[in-house]
Subunit: 192 residues, 2 copies
């Protein structure tokens, strides 16, 4: 088990409906030392790749991306979520529909901060169905940037998001892939 899996076992809470609460260290309270350890692991897994920009999405991706940026000595760009904005030509916009909630959201990034010269590592805290991630990939594509890899903290392996991204040929490195959870016993099964 790696450091994130150990922490999930220690402090994660399984709730009904395949909900994994990790808000004590990952996405409400944030353990920056853990983030640094996670960033070092991604730095190993993406070794040899040229990465000049870390791309994430507000809000809970930002703290993790800040730690990763330090490893790669690169700036972070975080996409903003918006219900609907006036597109004034200065923004890349991806419209993404949530599988779960059937709501549509826009993911937006200023054109100033992403271009064909960029080699991007996308980072986020969770991957389930992957709607937000698909929006980020779409925006990188619009900018002509190269997605060198994708680093996810926790992937819900029993949902489709990860498989779709791997099928598309991306190097997806999820530090913890949860294949099953039991709300009654609290048991969490990680993929080997």
């Amino acid at each position: 088990m790696n450091v994130l899996e150990e922490r999930i076992i220690k402090d994660g809470i399984v709730k009904e409906g395949n909900v994994l609460k990790v808000d004590s260290f990952l996405n409400h309270q944030m353990d920056i030392q853990l983030f640094d350890d996670m960033a070092k692991e991604w730095s190993k897994r993406f070794q040899g790749k040229t990465i000049n920009k870390i791309l994430t999405i507000e809000a809970s991706g930002i703290g993790i991306a800040a730690a990763v940026a330090r490893q790669f000595n690169a700036p972070v760009v975080f996409a903003k979520k918006s219900k609907s904005i006036n597109i004034d030509g200065e923004m890349y916009v991806a419209e993404v529909e949530s599988f779960t909630h059937k709501t549509k959201n826009q993911v937006i990034v200023s054109k100033k901060f992403l271009s064909e010269d960029d080699h991007v590592l996308i980072v986020d805290d969770f991957l389930a169905n992957g709607c937000a991630l698909q929006g980020l990939i779409s925006i990188a594509g619009d900018a002509g940037a190269t997605v060198e890899g994708i680093g996810i903290a926790i992937e819900k392996g029993f949902q489709v998001g990860g498989q779709i991204i791997r099928n598309l040929g991306y190097q997806l490195e999820s530090l913890a892939i949860v294949d099953a959870m039991d709300a009654e016993t609290g048991e969490i099964t990680f993929r080997q």
Copy 2:
């Protein structure tokens, strides 16, 4: 001039209506090396204070708070913004009204992550009228936590927020206090 003021002069853009765009390094694209330098400066200014938690608000405060957390070896808790939530007793909620937009927003923090044992440093990117900051102080008060200080990257010195906070007796350390901006010439005047 400190490192943030120098960067504002170099890359900040003054727009009509007293708008200062710093999205190339502070609140859309984030220069983590700059954040580390800013965090070191706050670490000096709050020397001797016992600080065990960094409190900020999504989204643009998170990256800065992550850098500050490393200096103080403390976790970050970021408050969430919400139009309205069902208060189930598990959350501290502050209702704040924007001076500018006259809209009401809720600022929320889980009760699990803030208590009377906490000595908090509040961190954010901007301080203008200070509504979000007032919400954070209110929540810290509800929790019985002690606000040891407040670190702001850019304070708009010509708006009321900073003065109110200093009048209330808090140690407010803004790294750049903008006293005037001229959209025509692009000139920015910092408080000495």
